[in-house]
Symmetry: D2
Subunit: 126 residues, 4 copies
């Protein structure tokens, strides 16, 4: 599987979210897609991603994409996590990009950059 | 927190991914952001989202966003899951949208729509 | 698989913990059995137990042991969770029974029984 | 918190399991203690144990019990994981010790000890 070509715009997150909604509707899976079930499925898929790494040394873990089988599993589990996160967001009516942008703004206040203007005396650094 | 206004385009997933990379770099957090650590953190955050729902009945779970405190926690955990997923993708060099698009295509073959052309006797439908 | 017969004492938790330690030592797995790896493996196995239930209705979930395949998976995942918990305890030097007894005592103070002596006006009960 | 004294027998797993059953019954928590909810709670607690380790280096993780605050959190999360595992076992009627003993026996066949009798020629080792 190749990563997306530079000049060909790939699908947006919102397009994929809608495609997943249609996919589930066509198969009549909506009754199963409650917020609670989807939060459980999201956790299970995240744990399956973690499973790939659980016995690896830091060096092996860093080289995980050099092994084609592991690389495929990683991409597959990333897709599953994102799929259930998007379906969860559909079920509860949350926009994930807006939620993340708001969180980043809160974190910028919560974790000021060390050494930012006003935060250190430049002479301390010399 | 309001959801994104219709006519004002919000940030894209790729913009937020880059912003998270800069955020971590400015705080010198990259040494901690190994694929293994980020997969663990992703699982922990997914479990924190699940925690909100673990004792709720299906009815309570469906109404979760009507409670302002729970709604805030839900948005916050969605943001955390997406943040760690994007940082994981940066660490391993995976494009999450491409991975998800490929997975949806595989699933469309794996789970054919019941009643799709070629799958049913047209007389059944009439 | 039958549950333990009443009159034949089965293994104790401590006996199984030691057997797991010998099992790992004989296979030279100790270098992998760090507290961090074992905590990850424990989470992965707990998620695999959850996976059995994720799409089940409450009714189906309650009848899970009536299906022989699911019942086998449940027993298998319970064993895996307990195995990694015991191996984690070995790695960090914690006695799980002592830890749980202490926690129950803290919880008895934290969540007093409603209607316990001293907690209600006896006239309310008449 | 001290670990259990050598000569004073502590509670058995079965005693603690029964105590947890009474604890939940006295507080009328049984309706919440479905297999599905307990499997979710077990996963959440395992993830909370993992959270203690997620940013630690292998060296820091190995020394986790030398830090009194972290040591207390570790014991507390071990207790929570074991408590939900026992309550899950009660809900589905599984004996965790029997399940684990059976699993160890299966694993002894599945992962033979390297160098065990019949597995190597002793001359290979000399």
């Amino acid at each position: 599987m190749n990563e997306r070509e530079i000049d060909v715009p790939g699908p947006t997150l919102e397009e994929l979210r809608r495609r997943l909604t249609k996919f589930a509707a066509a198969r009549r899976w909506e009754p199963f897609h409650t917020p609670k079930n989807l939060a459980a499925a999201l956790t299970v898929e995240a744990a399956e991603l973690l499973e790939i790494f659980q016995w690896l040394t830091p060096e092996q873990a860093s080289a995980v994409m050099a092994d084609p089988d592991r690389a495929h599993r990683v991409r597959d589990e990333v897709a599953d996590v994102l799929a259930y996160l998007l379906q969860f967001c559909t079920a509860v009516g949350v926009d994930p990009l807006t939620a993340l942008a708001a969180k980043i703004e809160r974190n910028e206040l919560r974790f000021p950059v060390p050494g930012a203007v006003g935060d250190v005396n430049p002479e301390d650094v010399s």
